[in-house]
Amino acid sequence: MKVLIANIEDVMREAAARWTLLAYFFLSSLFIIIFAFAVNLDIVEGSLAGAKLFGNDIHASGISIDKLVMGVESGLSGGLFLFWPFIAIFATAHLVPRMMEKGTVDLYLSRPVGRVKLLLSRYVAGLLLAGVNIAYLIGAMWLIVVWKTHVAHPRFLFAGAIILFFVAALLACAFLIGVITSSTAVSIMTTYVVFILGFPLVTHNRLAAVVSKDWQAGIIHAFYWIIPKSSELMGAVVAFVSEKALPHELAAAATPAPFLSTAAFAVGCLALASWLFQRKEF
């Protein structure tokens, strides 16, 4: 536990000293403030009588306020799922490469701490940094919605958990690349590619159908099953928050398989990173 606390202290202090923490909260707060001022709703007896977005009237009269809240929150969840992992990875991918710098790694490894414990403590600390920020962002937006509409829709809060789950998988990938290359830049780039590749690969069956060789189709399917399911998980977040009958594609997405395979990717990356870090010579 002391090792975990030491790593959390180290990661948070670094984030504070390097302005990461401040930038994180500045961006989140900016997002929250814009959202708070942009939306003006006129609610009469539980129904929306009028709505303004950035001061412009929008034709939404007659829509139930519940429906509107779900619509806004599901849209926000999807947007955050697309945008926030980039910020989270950018802010945490350096944790392993910087620890592995010559002259620094010796200081950590000369303590009576197993290497796997050290690496996983750092992973948890990084995830906590990302988690605190996602919790702040989603929590504040949820409160603004409650304040403006008097509708409390807790599913939006759980969207944060799914986003954090996805960030956890990407951070595991960043840690693995960090252990292999000791490079922050390569860790960030590779993780972004993994994230983005998940979107086109959702059509892996169609992609595999157009290639001429079986082995090529096999590679496409393998990639699909190995890397995190960006597209399906984003769909699942939106479906989960919107709480309505799912369209056909979303129903297909909201199955346990994308979650399980993404979790397997994270565990696999962490296991491989731990094994390599254990064997590494400094």
Binding site: K2, L107, P112
Partner: protein, 337 residues
Amino acid sequence: MSTPVIEVSALRKEYRSAFGRPPIVAIDGIDFTVGAGELFGLLGPNGAGKTTTVKILLGLTRATTGTATVHGLAVSDPESRRRVGYLPEGHKIPNYLTARQALSIFGRMSDMSKRDIDARTLELLERVRLSQWIDVRVKKFSKGMTQRLGLACALVHRPDVLLLDEPTDGVDPVGRREIRDLLIDEARTNGTTVLLNSHLLSEIELTCDKVAMLRKGKVAAAGTIEELTRQTAKYKMVASVVDDALLAAFRESGAGVERVNGHLELSVNDVEHLNVLVDRLRANGGMLTELAPLRSTLEDVFVDLIKAPDMPLTPSPSPRERGEGGQRPGEGPDVQP
């Protein structure tokens, strides 16, 4: 010898080379033991294997063959590092931390409680003259201050073994002396075992009880500083009326003779040979006023060792082990040219 704390036996480290080239041998079967409370110096030129040896002792690098233990525990066991403090060469304490925060983080990683860390922080920073800088970030520290903070980090959990890699690197002479005094105090007062890895020979000479000199990955010489620097075959002679004829006679007997600053430096085979020279001096009407064995510095021994041609190098036996009062010229690597 006191209870062994660090034991290294037949340690060998090879680094693989690319493209089928032969492996690079960093350490080639070294053995040494460091007892409790000893100040032990590991000397050698760059690339001799000093840092690799220390890294193996910390589990940072694995030995290819051989064994290394600290307190009887294999170095692969993280528990072997519980009572070890380490100051790496060119260490980089994260520069966003203050001195207090650095000690807090490394103290926690050594399983210390917050209260214990807080008390120890004040005491240690006072000791390394950084108490006024306790809440200043490391990035504002000078090289010497960073080095002293590194030493404080190594000492934070009250280790009973200290492994120090060039601890006085970049430190001014006063700071160097303070570090030296601190290490000697740790060893004498707290019984801390210190393994000092340095190529600053004067530092080692002034600090350590025992030394192992590494050369090309092997222990080329080992022993106490006194054993390594003693040159019983070389004497300083101060005498009156020593003419050239007498010097020629000395040389004829097989002695090496040099006039240095008004006295003679004699290289003889043994004590009997020395007495023969004294007899000749007296027979020649000379008056002996001073005769003393010469000591070389550790630097002399080191340079001789490094310049020595490749030969099977073995730890130099002590005079006692040889069963005589001194070492003969030409025996072992730690001899005059």
